[in-house]
Symmetry: C2
């Protein structure tokens, strides 16, 4: 009923990062695509098969050093129900390897419908008495614009099945401030109010390391707000996007961590997925080594972030 | 690049309503489920087959009197990728019958990812040069919490493919006010600011009847706000949920329409889908007539809403 499992995995691997799996076809080596298209044609089936193969290669190369993956639902939906099948298979494959899986779906709706999303992505679906996991992720990103009605059904599933949710607070994109930075009559910003709601919703899902089962998305591209929110939201874990391709660096995310090096997990998607496409790498490697490039980038990122944090007995991340 | 096609359909059928297709298994007659489970077992495949059969029956019974359907993505995702396949098949079937399809997904993300959602739900996916529609709806509901970055990629697809988007402004659920009713320093509420953003985003998608390709979700359960927003947002069409099962009535939605009876489409999901389960209906009919019950409820709703509106030459809805 919290992010305890993920926190333990971060400490075990001494790595507070998550690999975003946002698999556009353009990110996938030719040999994988050629094989899939030879079998299924240039179809959604072919695309979905190529993505699954690519994802499995990345997971095989990352699971012993990276605690979690974050598949972005949009990139699977783009390839139709076939892509969505690949999403389900990717989640299952990563979990078999011991990884914590956050489905990035930013789902939101009114109570009864949110119950359906909670069931779909975190819970078990009842089919005439049979209990079946539809997607079975460990956590789901959600949008809190609809208020508590849209969150409570998720909290219930998190309690029953030891899962977590991650609410958008301050997103990493350039226009996030259009609404999120606006100030209310009492001087609080929208993102502050949303952050406080996370603290409140999290009370129903306490964790043994101080962080609840309700985390918050706070972008690496706004380091001052990241530090401000870390100080204010003491029980809310942060998922931090915007590192790497979007411009956030290790110095920018340092403020997201508490004195034990906990409190945040930093996402990188494109920099890991497309590491094999960089000129310097391509000059010396075959595209079949794409997963090795991803692993090298994941290690580089891990070490870069740890370098900015204080150590206890040589370790940056401590329970 | 607007809701013109939908508006024309509303006027043709003299019906400003949309049938929400939120198919829980509990809403589906036993004979449909038994047949599907006999073929596929009590599995997600069986559930997805039952939902498709049920949806087709509803569409067959509604397409000549109801202009649009609104499938709610959550209820399809709940049945896994198999359910998502049924979503794609439901959209295609309704469009073959001439219905306008709004996928209710409330999607939201940063720019690059929103492009993937736009492609998935409204556009065409490029698979090595082949252009394929993944879901191909006519419109998609979205959440504007991330600001313009999350909307612009959709606007582009709407321009190219004559599609529309529908942004959450004031939702129908009891807790919608927790954030949406809060007031900024300048006295505007969050829902007012979001409504003004819809007017601005819509400028890129003008329609010939005065309404742009950016519509707004405004709940029937808050009739005063519905009337307030109708007066303020002159170019923004409204999708109005909350009628029927959630408590909104015909009097509550009357304020959503302009002087021509345009400007709004009222959704009803459960009341239409489960009309066959009402005691009075069941006493006189077989469950195999479930679609007839839906049709009767859709006609009742159409006439009830029209009764509250002024007529021009005997017609409530006029171009």
């Amino acid at each position: 009923m919290s992010f305890d499992r993920m926190i333990e995995k971060i400490v075990e691997l001494q790595n507070p990062t998550v690999a975003g799996l946002d698999p556009k076809l353009a990110f996938i080596p030719e040999y994988i695509k050629n094989e899939a298209f030879a079998k299924y044609g240039k179809t959604l089936d072919g695309a979905a098969a190529a993505i699954l193969e690519y994802n499995k290669g990345l997971i095989d190369a990352l699971y012993d050093i990276v605690p979690a993956i974050k598949p972005q639902a949009a990139y699977y939906e783009m390839y139709g129900w076939q892509g969505v099948k690949t999403l389900a298979e990717t989640i299952a494959y990563a979990q078999e390897k011991g990884m914590f899986v956050m489905t990035d779906g930013k789902r939101n709706d009114i109570g009864a419908t949110m119950e359906a999303y909670a069931t779909a992505h975190l819970g078990t679906t009842d089919v005439a008495g049979e209990k079946i996991e539809a997607f079975g992720a460990d956590a789901l990103t959600v949008n809190g614009y609809l208020g508590s009605d849209g969150i409570n059904p998720l909290v219930k599933v998190c309690q029953e099945k030891d899962k977590g949710i991650i609410v958008l607070v301050k997103t990493s994109n350039p226009s996030s401030g259009e609404l999120q930075d606006m100030k209310f009559e009492d001087e609080r910003t929208v993102y502050n109010v949303m952050g406080e709601m996370c603290e409140k919703w999290g009370e129903a899902l306490p964790g043994k390391y101080g962080y609840s089962g309700v985390a918050a998305v706070v972008g690496a591209t706004y380091p001052a707000m990241l530090t401000e929110l870390r100080a204010k939201l003491t029980k809310t874990f942060f998922l931090v996007p915007g590192y790497g391709a979007q411009g956030g660096g290790a110095a920018d995310v340092a403020g997201a961590f508490d004195e034990n090096g906990l409190g945040a997990i930093i996402n990188s998607s494109r920099a890991i997925m497309t590491a094999w496409q960089k000129d310097a790498w391509k000059a010396e490697h075959d595209e079949k080594d794409y997963a090795l490039a991803a692993r090298a980038e994941a290690i580089r990122m891990r070490d870069e972030i740890a370098a900015y944090l204080p150590k206890k007995n040589g370790k940056a991340f401590n329970l």
